[in-house]
Structure formats: structure tokens, C-alpha cells
């Protein structure tokens, strides 16, 4: 009975909270710029509006284009069920689920990029090329971080690796975990195309990465893409929060609010990063991602030394 309640809280939070994170980021950026900014719930209104619209599909596109939005959303939706949000296990959890988790995100990316290529637009092809180039550098950083957690916890299950036992490891291997935390935060910014990797607000096709891939989507399909992107932000935010605040009080009444507060703090930090940093030049982006890989790699070296 207890696990059913726990799982339903997990599902409700995971699917209702993501757009709020986008709202918090936008509000933080607005505060930094001295504006009032859109209301916190604006992303919900946007999604609602998009889902009510009709859809127009280009005649040159095939089923791949239509599948792109759906697969991108569904893969993020399954991935969010694999990660533990508070102390106890995730709704779906088995040994080796970290591989499924990483490749669900990979699958979503593959279909988004394929849908972009399917339109035949030169700009979208460019965006797809950039997205996969940066992703292939962000993925090793993420995996090396997972390796550190697997080595520390001796488990190959996300629920075990990010479970409450993590709190004890901060005492004896805090250096490594801090490096992984930093590395994962860089991965979070890269995977969700935030500044300094990509500017989600830009509207110049030549410089966009993620946004340019979805130029041809409209209506419900675009809504699904936006919602999927928000879910992905939630997934990575949750990973960072679990890594940074692994301790659990034991009572579910406190653990869930702690987690949600942590997530909102991550959103504010992203907003601060976006307000205080400029975008990197495209050729400099790989340098930062390689640095993220190196951070994780050094975390491993420090562990096995």
C-alpha cells in the first residue's frame, strides 16, 4: 500500500512539475534583467494553448517527422519513471536500468534529430548535426559519473546508486561526488540546450541548436516537444538534486518537499547561470563538454587511487 502511494506521488510530481521549472527559470532571468517577467505558470498556459491547436504537416515529410515528437515525449516520460525522486525506489527499477535510462534519452534525441532531417530543411539539418555532436560528448561525462556512483554503491540500479546510502558516501568520497555533481550540472545545461551551450530564446536559425530542429512542428506536436523538453529538464534536475541532497529524513511528508525545494533551487541556479553568462562560441562548446568528461574521469581516478 505504501509503495502505491509513493509511486503515485512520484508520477503526479514527475508529470505536473516540469513546466513549473521552466517558469521558475524565466522568472529568475526576468528578475535579473529588472523585468516583471511572465507569470510562473505561463508554460502551462502555453502547453494548453498548443494542445488546442490543429496541426499542419508539410507534404514532403514522412511518418518519421510525426514519430519524432511522440517518441521524444514518450522516451522522456519513461525515463522519468526510472529515477528515484526521494529516498525509496523508483516505480520501475531493475538491475542495469541505468543503461535503459541513458538510451531512452538517446532514443528521444535520435528521433528528434531524424524528424529534423526528414523535413529537408538545411537549417534543421545543421541543428541536428550540432545536437548529436554535443550529445556524443555529453554522454561519456554522464556515464563516467554513473560509474563513480556504481563503484561507490556497488549497485547497478539507479534506485540503489542514488538511494539514501549516498549520504554516507559524501563523508568518505566527497571530493569525487562533488566533481561528478559539477560535471552533471554541465551535462544538464548541455542536454537541455541552456546557456552557455544554446540560447533557448534565440530566434536566429544559424545559431540555434535544439530550437532549430523543431521549427517545422506546430500545434499538439510542438506542445509534446516542449513538454518532453521540460520532462528532460526535470529528469536531469532530479539527478542533480538526488546527488546533492541524498539524505532522507525518513518521513515521506518531509522527503518530498525537500526534493521539490531542491529542484526549484536547481531551476533558480540555472536561471542565474543564464543571466550571468553569455553563450559560448560554437567551436568552444566541445571544450567545456570535454572538461565535464575530465571532471568525471578524475572523480574515478580519485576513487581508485
Amino acid at each position: 500500500m505504501n509503495t502505491i502511494i509513493h509511486d503515485s506521488v512520484h508520477v503526479v510530481l514527475a508529470f505536473s512539475l516540469p513546466p513549473l521549472l521552466l517558469g521558475v527559470i524565466a522568472k529568475t532571468k526576468a528578475l535579473f534583467a529588472g523585468r516583471v517577467g511572465p507569470p510562473l505558470l505561463q508554460p502551462y498556459y502555453d502547453l494548453f494553448k498548443l494542445f488546442q491547436k490543429g496541426s499542419v504537416y508539410s507534404t514532403t515529410t514522412t511518418w518519421v517527422f510525426r514519430a519524432g515528437a511522440v517518441v521524444g515525449f514518450v522516451s522522456a516520460g519513461i525515463a522519468v519513471l526510472l529515477i528515484p525522486l526521494s529516498g525509496s525506489a523508483a516505480p520501475i527499477s531493475f538491475t542495469g536500468d541505468l543503461i535503459l535510462f541513458a538510451y531512452l534519452l538517446g532514443l528521444g534525441r535520435f528521433f528528434t534529430a531524424s524528424a529534423a532531417l526528414d523535413t529537408g530543411s538545411a537549417f534543421e539539418g545543421m541543428g541536428a548535426a550540432r545536437e548529436v555532436t554535443f550529445a556524443c560528448l555529453a554522454e561519456p561525462a554522464f556515464f563516467l559519473g554513473l560509474l563513480v556512483l556504481a563503484k561507490l554503491s556497488g549497485s547497478l540500479q539507479l534506485s540503489g546508486m542514488l538511494g539514501s546510502s549516498l549520504a554516507t558516501h559524501w563523508a568518505n568520497a566527497g571530493d569525487s561526488l562533488a566533481l561528478v555533481l559539477l560535471s552533471w550540472f554541465i551535462v544538464l545545461l548541455a542536454e537541455n540546450s541552456r546557456i552557455p551551450f544554446d540560447d533557448p530564446n534565440t530566434h536566429l536559425e544559424l545559431t540555434m541548436i535544439h530550437e532549430v530542429m523543431v521549427l517545422d512542428h506546430g500545434g499538439p506536436a510542438f506542445g509534446m516537444i516542449l513538454y518532453g523538453a521540460a520532462l528532460k529538464l526535470f529528469v536531469f534536475g532530479a539527478l542533480v538534486v538526488r546527488l546533492a541532497v541524498p539524505m532522507t529524513v525518513g518521513s515521506a511528508w518531509l522527503d518530498w518537499p525537500i526534493f521539490v525545494a531542491g529542484l526549484l533551487v536547481v531551476a533558480v541556479v540555472i536561471g542565474v547561470v543564464e543571466s550571468t553568462m553569455a553563450r559560448l562560441r560554437l567551436t568552444r562548446v566541445p571544450v567545456l563538454l570535454v572538461a565535464a568528461c575530465l571532471l568525471s574521469a578524475f572523480a574515478i581516478i580519485l576513487l581508485v587511487r
Binding site: 572538461a291 578524475f298 587511487r305
Partner: protein
């Protein structure tokens, strides 16, 4: 050993990579200056009791490496009208990777060194070797003379880290001598930078091969 030692050393190691990967000279100067300040603070943690000598040394190091030399370099940057790009011979990505390989090798190598038992397993030794390696890398793979000064500073930071192991045994005179050497070194190189820039209207050391009678 104090619990702060390892985190501080990791930050110092991370600054090595910042120095290798940042494309603006001002950024490199800041990274090296911050590392100098960190090393000064580190000296406080390495030994539990430091006398007036230690305090003087820490103060001197922080003051010189963190403030005087960086300010001098920024001044030189402005006076000689140096452009802000680093202009590396080996690009940033490869420099970072080379730095990473060097740091990894430093970890392996320092575990084979015949160190005193109290110094075994410390992060101090690999960090020192890695910083020396980064300094060499910067000395050899950057074109502008000011970057060579910065490479020299990194090199000295690495030597300072190693010297921290021997803080009790090493007489004050040696430490002060090293700092003085460093200061005069930077001073002389500042003058050289000025002369190169006046002679060739650029501070790329590539022009030095043109120096003929």
C-alpha cells in the same frame, strides 16, 4: 592532515585546466592568480602548527602571486597593447587533453615515488607534478611572450606545492629566495615583453628567430 587539503588541491588542479582552456589572456591571468592565492591558503592547512615564519611566508605568497604579479601582468597587457586572444600553437581542446594525460600520468608516477611514509598517498605530490606539467605545456605551446610568463608562474606553483611537503625542514631563506626569483623573473620578462612589442609591434615569440645582426 586537515580535511580541507584535498578539496583545495582539486580546485587548484581544476584551475590548471581553466588556464589551459580559457581563450582570453585576462582569464588565464585570473586563473593563475587564484591558484596562487589557493596555494597560500593551502600552506596553512598542511602543517598543524606554523610559526611566525609560516605566517610571513603565507602572507608573502598570497600577496605576491595573488595580487602583485597579476596586476603587473595586466598592466603589461595594457601598456604593450597586447590582443586578448591567447593564440595557442596546440589548440585548446588538445591542450586540455594533453593536460589530462599529464595529470593522469602524475597520479600513476607519484604512487611509484619513494616518498616518506607520512607523505604516501597524499594528493599533494601528484597535484604538484601535474601543475609543473601544465606549466611546461603552457611554456611550449603558446606563442605570446606573456603566456610564457604565465606558464613560468604555473611551473613555480607546482614547485611550491612540492615545497609544502618540506615546509618544516626547508629554511625560510630558500622559500623567500624562490619568491624573489619569481618576482625578478616576471619583472625581467615584463621588460622583455615591452621590448619585443616595441621592436616587432607584436609579442609573438615567433619573431625572435628574426633577430639577426
Amino acid at each position: 592532515m586537515a580535511p580541507f587539503l584535498d578539496p583545495l588541491l582539486i580546485v587548484a588542479l581544476a584551475l590548471n585546466f581553466v588556464a589551459l582552456g580559457v581563450s582570453r589572456i585576462r582569464g588565464v591571468i585570473n586563473a593563475v592568480a587564484l591558484q596562487g592565492i589557493l596555494l597560500g591558503i593551502l600552506a596553512l592547512f598542511v602543517h598543524s602548527e606554523i610559526g611566525i615564519r609560516g605566517i610571513l611566508l603565507v602572507g608573502g605568497t598570497i600577496c605576491l602571486k595573488g595580487f602583485v604579479i597579476p596586476r603587473f601582468l595586466v598592466h603589461a597587457l595594457r601598456e604593450a597593447n597586447i590582443q586578448h586572444e591567447v593564440t595557442p600553437v596546440v589548440n585548446y581542446m588538445n591542450s586540455i587533453l594533453l593536460g589530462a594525460v599529464g595529470t593522469g600520468l602524475a597520479m600513476v608516477f607519484s604512487s611509484t615515488l619513494p616518498l616518506a611514509d607520512t607523505h604516501k598517498g597524499l594528493l599533494l605530490v601528484p597535484a604538484s607534478l601535474a601543475t609543473v606539467w601544465t606549466g611546461f605545456l603552457m611554456l611550449t605551446t603558446r606563442k605570446k611572450a606573456i603566456m610564457q610568463v604565465l606558464g613560468y608562474l604555473l611551473l613555480e606553483n607546482g614547485i611550491f606545492l612540492f615545497g609544502l611537503l618540506l615546509l618544516e625542514a626547508m629554511p625560510l631563506l630558500v622559500e623567500v629566495g624562490v619568491l624573489l626569483d619569481l618576482f625578478t623573473g616576471v619583472f625581467v620578462m615584463g621588460i622583455i615583453i615591452h621590448h619585443i612589442s616595441r621592436e616587432f609591434a607584436s609579442i609573438s615569440t615567433e619573431h625572435l628567430t628574426e633577430l639577426k645582426e
